[in-house]
Amino acid sequence: MNVEPVSRPFWPSFVAGVGSAAGLPSLVLMASLIGVGGLTRDIGYPMFAGVLSTILIWAGPAQVLLFGSIAAGASMPAIAIAVSLSSIRFFPMVVSIVPLLRGPDVGMGKLLLGAHFVAVTSWTEGRRLLPDLPVKERFPFFIGFASMVMAAASFATGVGYHLIGALPAALAAALLFTTPMFFTLSLVAGSKTQADWAALILGFALAPLSTFVVGQDFDLLVVGLIGGSAAYLLHRTRRKG
């Protein structure tokens, strides 16, 4: 007779995810979000508004854009559109991680929770680590990983709020440099095929050109579609040849 496992191993996998996030991923997120805490203070917002932005928005560039644009005096509807366009990457990122998270006991609610935790760090680490795990351990592992980095990042946002004014300018610049540097290294580390490299290089090279041609707002949309599609065409021709 087959015995169904009555208890799902949620917590052991969750704890394994926390452990996997406790080193470099958390430190990188902390360094990135200290700068965001500083930007929150620059515009006269309370500390918890900055911390809330880390928990709810969970996208460094969108937070920088939000608080940076408020500092620059842009109108609220314009900022909302700019923030949304800068976050389009989450659509393909979530689409490509959902198949790794879903399982027999992972319903719609859990998928939406998992999707909220998707950011560059959890996406690259999730795509790297989840395929090697048994299906039912993936969701708790991912939630554990993401909760840990989010907790560390929220703490750093609060610390940055109080600390940023006391930092030397070069160090404050280095903290804001963490996001682009880490995003780049994550992409490089995750690039396995020629098509991956093409997407990386085209995305980078097309951005200034696209900003020049279509302007600040819709440039990333063009970069993603053209760069990603060109890389995909390379993938198709390579496979046939």
Binding site: L24, V28, G38, Y45, L56, A62, V64, L66, G68, A71, M76, I81, V83, I88, R89, F91, M93, V95, S96, V98, P99, L100, M108, L111, H116, I164, P168, A169, A170, A173, F177, T178, T179, P180, M181, F182, F183, T184, L185, S186, L187, V188, A189, G190, A195, A198, A199, L200, G203, F204, A205, L206, A207, S210, V223, G227, G228, A231, Y232, H235
Partner: protein, 118 residues
């Protein structure tokens, strides 16, 4: 109208901004992604295209953060920001594919250039 709204909500205004102008415009893409990705096969061609579009978008975000920096990063000139990024990439390869190594070298170069200008 916005000024009146800001006054009416008092101390809650910053939190409303975070939710309405920051959270909702970002979260919508994650929610749509769940609905779109729910029935897709991980190894399908469509998924490969989606993943490559995501990679190009992330690379594009990096380029924009470097070309139009906000706050303290603007202190460092463009050549310094680009040079630090290149140094970080080089460090990753030299230190046998170490993300930490690349990050440290990139940051060290950026701080060095920053000290010359700050």
């Amino acid at each position: 109208m916005l000024a009146a709204l800001e006054h009416a909500t008092g101390g809650l205004w910053p939190y409303l901004v975070v939710v309405l102008i920051g959270f909702l415009p970002t979260e919508i893409w994650r929610v749509i992604g769940v609905f779109a990705g729910r029935n897709l096969d991980e190894s399908s061609d469509l998924m490969i295209w989606v993943r490559l579009v995501a990679a190009a978008l992330v690379a594009g975000v990096v380029a924009k953060l470097l070309l139009a920096p906000s706050g303290a990063l603007a202190v460092v000139p463009l050549w310094g920001r680009a040079g630090a990024l290149a140094a970080g990439g080089l460090g990753y390869w030299l230190m046998r594919r170490s993300v930490l190594g690349g990050l440290m070298l990139g940051e060290a170069v950026l701080i060095s250039v920053g000290l010359m200008y700050a």
